[in-house]
């Protein structure tokens, strides 16, 4: 009883949070489809431009700080994510963030650690991990296989680029069988076309 009363305040707070959560879910959608003109397309919320993926569905999640999502035949078959976050932000699943003195290899390792701690990315097997150039910036490129939560073998290519105070990440994910190879070239061309528009960086 004593313990229960001690936490009754927490129950109240929890109830309020639940109400707030439900309330907020009922508001505006957090994503919106994006119409495209001729390229290069501005991905204004993350301060880049890129060309390609013209036949894909585009959506941006402005409420999440401008995360861009692309799919051609649905998320299960192919998806591309273009996003960025402040380097000072803690990388998910860890209590680490990106320091300016980190090498690209260390940043790539941190990204892999984050994936491995995410038990949705089980049996992660790195195919390659190497330095790359994107938009005239030094970046890393990781290619890895993993199984998702229903055991499907997926393959992901991830580019990571530190630009000023931001960490950019561009990802392509598809089932390893057929779909990965089918659209990888389009993704690579899209990433090659990226131009960073971050002032002062």
């Amino acid at each position: 009883m004593r313990i229960g009363s001690r936490w009754s305040g927490a129950c109240g707070v929890a109830a309020l949070l639940v109400l707030a959560l439900v309330g907020s879910l009922g508001c505006a959608p957090i994503w919106s489809p994006t119409a495209k003109g001729p390229g290069p397309h501005p991905l204004a919320s993350i301060q880049i431009t890129a060309s390609g993926l013209d036949d894909w569905g585009w959506a941006s999640y402005e409420a999440l700080g401008g995360v861009w999502h692309f799919t051609r035949q649905g998320d299960e078959l192919n998806q591309v994510w273009m996003r960025r976050w402040p380097k000072s932000q803690v990388v998910k699943g860890t209590n680490r963030s990106i320091r300016d003195d980190m090498t690209l290899q260390e940043i790539a390792a941190l990204s892999l650690d984050s994936r491995r701690l995410d038990d949705g990315v089980a049996r992660l097997e790195v195919v390659s991990n190497e330095p790359a150039r994107v938009g005239n910036r030094d970046c890393y490129r990781i290619d890895y296989r993993h199984r998702n939560d229903i055991g499907l073998l997926k393959r992901t290519v991830e580019y990571g680029c530190p630009v000023g105070t931001w960490m950019y990440r561009f990802e392509y994910m598809a089932p390893a069988q057929y779909y990965f190879d089918a659209y990888l070239r389009e993704f690579e061309a899209f990433v090659r076309s990226v131009a960073f528009k971050v002032p002062g960086a």
């Binding site: 313990i3 229960g4 001690r6 936490w7 009754s8 927490a10 129950c11 109240g12 707070v13 929890a14 109830a15 949070l17 639940v18 959560l21 932000q89 803690v90 998910k92 699943g93 860890t94 209590n95 680490r96 320091r99 090498t103 690209l104 290899q105 650690d113 984050s114 491995r116 701690l117 995410d118 038990d119 949705g120 990315v121 089980a122 049996r123 790195v126 195919v127 390659s128 991990n129 190497e130 330095p131 199984r147 998702n148 939560d149 229903i150 055991g151």
Partner: protein
């Protein structure tokens, strides 16, 4: 054990969200417990109440349990090591009462590769122990303490009690699932949340936990383990939680707050002062602490890797040290120790001494003494010279880094990080040429 003595594995990115999320989940769990009204007692599993006569809802719970276990066990989350698994199975067999076997239950223990300190059981007698829990146990009696508590839950069918007792709890549990998916990331987190919802991992009503304390101690005593040291185990879980929280904003949110663990310690002390006041007969063979630590060495090493990945470098140092003690010939344990020390150099903590670069290198050099062809130790030693410890890299540091990187490339041709290392080699060679031309 239930989540009371454990941190959950779910994490939220930002500290504000973490705090709110922790309060939300904690509140919901408490709310769930509070909703538990009068329960219909269930007969314990034994020869009379066997698995041959499961009620429909119990049979369904078992089916759900098997499906969830299949998903988890085929997902790559299970840490498999034949020797460790055999040892755990032997201890489990020793503490399992014959009545449970006569009921048709075949208890089994699996080690889950998860950084959070946790252990729980399912209705069908399967017990999951996270590496985070095994890594910090000091002896076999602590292992037996957890196993007997979980067996008590299984015998008294607490997962089913929880299911039948549900009503509002079902909603609360659903919200815990929602909370976990919001708070953290992928499908696997949901997978474990699903496991939590049909196991003893979540808050059980207080009377069930008290029952498990008492029955568990009874089983521990009957198996010939010393019951007197049991409170120390729960204190260890509290100490670990405190250790983690001193290392920054990582939020391994507890489903149950430390006061409940404190409550359990009090309960155990009461039991030891009453029903078990005379102690019990301790019957060998019981592995001595050093043998126990050696038996669970793979879990300790894995936990050090996970703590490193999570960036809790002081904990990683402590766990890696335990691994170097439990198997001093394991070169990888020394590499992990070096990386944990380097991590503290990269991310110094206020109020704690920053390890010297010499300690870092000593750990890698020790690994290389054990295995001169250890590629990881060679690379890490190279990196320890390559990283600048001041504005300019000393010529001797450049030379040492270059030598280690070249050796690494020879030891590990085709390594996934080969391109980076070749880049460092080119940079260091250019640096050397520049120095000699001046």
């Amino acid at each position: 054990m239930s989540a009371r003595e454990s941190g959950s594995r779910h994490r939220i990115r930002e500290s504000g969200g973490r705090r709110a999320g922790a309060i939300l989940l904690l509140g919901l769990a408490v709310l769930g417990t509070a909703m538990g009204c009068a329960r219909v007692p269930l007969a314990p599993l034994d020869a009379q109440q066997s698995t041959a006569s499961l009620a429909d809802d119990e049979a369904y719970l078992w089916k759900q349990t098997r499906e969830t276990q299949f998903e988890i066990e085929s997902s790559g989350l299970v840490l498999e090591d034949p020797a460790m698994d055999a040892y755990l199975a032997r201890v489990l067999a020793r503490v399992t009462p014959s009545s449970l076997v006569e009921a048709g239950v075949t208890p089994r223990v699996q080690v889950i590769s998860d950084v959070a300190m946790h252990g729980y059981s399912f209705a069908n007698g399967v017990i999951y122990l996270h590496v985070g829990l095994l890594a910090r146990m000091t002896d076999e009696t602590q292992l037996a303490t957890v196993l007997t508590r979980e067996l008590a839950h299984v015998i008294h069918r607490h997962a089913l009690v929880l299911r039948r007792d549900a009503k509002g709890r079902a909603d609360a549990m659903a919200w815990i699932g929602v909370g976990s998916s919001l708070s953290s990331y992928g499908g696997g987190a949901k997978m474990l949340a699903q496991a939590y919802s049909i196991s003893t991992a979540v808050m059980l009503p207080q009377d069930l936990e008290v029952k498990a304390d008492e029955e568990g101690l009874g089983l521990l005593s009957a198996a010939g383990y010393d019951v007197k040291a049991t409170p120390d185990f729960f204190q260890m879980t509290l100490d670990y939680r405190k250790e983690l929280h001193q290392q920054g904003p990582l939020a391994w949110m507890p489903y149950v707050a430390p006061p409940f663990v404190t409550g359990r310690i009090t309960n155990y002390r009461q039991l030891l002062g009453t029903r078990f006041s005379g102690g019990n007969r301790v019957e060998p063979p019981i592995a001595d602490p050093a043998t126990f630590r050696r038996n669970v060495h793979p879990a300790t090493r894995r936990q050090a890797e996970l703590e490193l990945a999570a960036g809790v470098f002081r904990s990683a140092e402590r766990t890696a040290k335990l691994a170097t003690e439990s198997d001093p010939s394991d070169a990888q344990a020394w590499v992990l120790l070096g990386r944990a020390l380097q991590g503290q150099r990269d991310k110094p903590m206020n109020g704690y001494e920053v390890p010297s670069i010499h300690r870092v290198r000593e750990a890698y050099e020790h690994a290389l003494e054990l295995d001169p062809r250890d590629a990881a130790a060679t690379r890490e030693l190279g990196l320890s010279y390559y990283r600048k410890t001041s504005r300019v890299r000393a010529p001797e540091a450049s030379r040492a880094a270059l030598a280690h990187f070249r050796r690494y490339l020879a030891l590990a041709p085709g390594a996934t990080d080969e391109a980076y290392i070749r880049g460092y080699v080119e940079e260091l060679e250019a640096e050397g040429r520049g120095r000699s031309s001046r």
